[in-house]
Subunit: 277 residues, 2 copies
DNA sequence: AGAAAAATGGAATAAAAATTCCGTTTCGAG
DNA sequence: CTCGAAACGGAATTTTTATTCCATTTTTCT
């Protein structure tokens, strides 16, 4: 056992190293290398003795194996296998990190802040693809399509989304009321909703109490409520007939609205088609 | 802590359980539930004390948390989080594909629409990186930073951007006036601008005549004007001291606002920094 | 406001896991 | 065939990690 090189830091590197050195390895180590390439998941998640058993090898061989590739022990090597697991997964916060690093390199005097937001926005959009539940989306369109008048409720950060929707719905000749709280008449506006209408509420944490209250009240009247919010824990999701989930990334302590805006727009287009039938 | 139910065996079940029980949980447990939903990766891979630290919680609380959901200990719950990692890693790409096909067949093109907008949004953001002129951006920040009050003017499709900016500026303690034309008083609002202030106007084709007019009038008063618009041909650009160019992609006859929103946000953050000096 | 119950923090303990160590086996050169 | 070096197996040890326990704080109910 020689060649104490610098240990591979990414799964890809490790994979290559494994394939390359494979020939020169001893019997047991070969066996392990093969097992590792075939079952990266096990390597990432199982314990040393667990893997040892499955691969028909002694635990100590696994440690030797890791050391043969330059790691200080098995645990260190396992970290590499784990990093692979999270990268390939859905989680996108990590993707952002890798994005950033990519961009940091070219030393051009770019607008760093803008780059961050662009990367964040892109990540949020990609994530949107994964988290939007098609059934919920379908259901939302159904409800909104049937509604006589769509009431739009949103405050603060979410308000621009509602105002955009109001504009777009108007373009579609879909009647809507923007409950904007103008003149302190949030509830007066909101309470004029009635059977046959639908409420589309948008709010993110920290959730606007007015919007939450309106959602609850509307639901008690047995009027359908569609919500756009951030995650299952949102009080909006919990009190809506249908809820669409969006997660915006926070960059520099500010949240973008790219993903939410895109979802809103999609809603508009899908609704437009529904109405054409 | 009661209700020893059968513990959720899949990530999906666990997710739902988490959302459902969330309300009834104690402070610390709630905190953990939120962290878990936001960071499933950590829950799957980190050690108890690692997670405890990141979530600002005691290790023992994590064990209590797991037990509150019926598991024998944290490790058992962690297995569920891990199973999710494996599934999403292995089948991730396939899942998405099959998912799309499903819907293609029953003729529901929703996902396709969403995909189009997502792709469009991403393209617009990437484009933004190239078209924004750092010098102009810098100049815009200077002007806005020096302004006593920032007047925000936008109509129709651009209005949501202005309303978002109004919200964000308020967060920065930067005084601003949203010239929204409420009550038909667009010009009354707009004309109250005076020396020492600045106007930030946003408009896209077909350009809002009111906004154009306000820009011209303001400029005649020798008050600085910053504009966000689409291209150099825009009458806004031509009458502004500084103009920022954004190009949104049109998909299905609708324009998104992702890029514009991102630019707006960047402006906010950059302005925030400027103000701190 | 005060007592009882529930929740929490944090150190102590138990359990599990990784790693080392060493006697034994295998392999290859002379 | 024999010797030496490398590889291996497996128990012993160390380290890390999970879990428990109890004193203290916070909440709830009266």
């Amino acid at each position: 056992m020689t060649v104490p090189t610098i240990p591979p830091a990414s799964y890809e590197e490790l994979r290559n190293e494994l394939a390359e050195k494979h020939e020169g390895l001893s019997k047991r180590l070969k066996q392990i290398a093969e097992y590792a390439l075939d079952n990266p998941n096990d390597m990432a998640l199982e314990t040393v003795s667990g893997i040892a058993e499955r691969a028909s090898v002694q635990p100590s061989s696994l440690i030797r194996f890791a050391k043969a590739f330059g790691y200080s022990g098995f645990s260190e090597m396992q970290r590499v296998f784990r990093s692979y697991l999270v990268e390939s997964g859905t989680n996108y916060k990590d993707r952002i990190r890798s994005f950033r690093n990519e961009h940091d390199q070219d030393g051009a005097p770019r607008n760093i802040v803008l780059d961050d937001f662009i990367d964040g926005g892109i990540a949020a959009l990609k994530n949107l693809r994964d988290v939007v539940d098609p059934d919920q989306f379908e259901a939302a369109i159904k409800i909104l399509g049937k509604a006589d008048v769509i009431y739009l409720a949103a405050q603060r950060r979410a308000f621009p989304v509602a105002s955009y929707l109001a504009y777009a719905f108007a373009q579609l000749d879909k009647r809507c009321v923007l409950v904007d709280g103008n003149g302190g008449m949030f509830f007066q506006q909101g309470h004029s909703i009635r059977s046959g209408d639908a409420l589309l509420a948008i709010s993110f944490k920290s959730y606007s109490p007015e919007v939450i209250q309106l959602v609850k009240e509307t639901r008690e009247k047995a009027i359908p409520v569609v919500s756009i919010s951030d995650g299952l824990l949102s009080p909006l999701s919990q009190n809506s007939d249908v809820s669409l989930e969006v997660e915006e990334v926070e960059v520099h302590a500010f949240r973008s609205l790219s993903a939410t805006m895109t979802l809103a727009l999609t809603l508009v287009v899908a609704l437009g088609r529904e109405l054409q039938k």
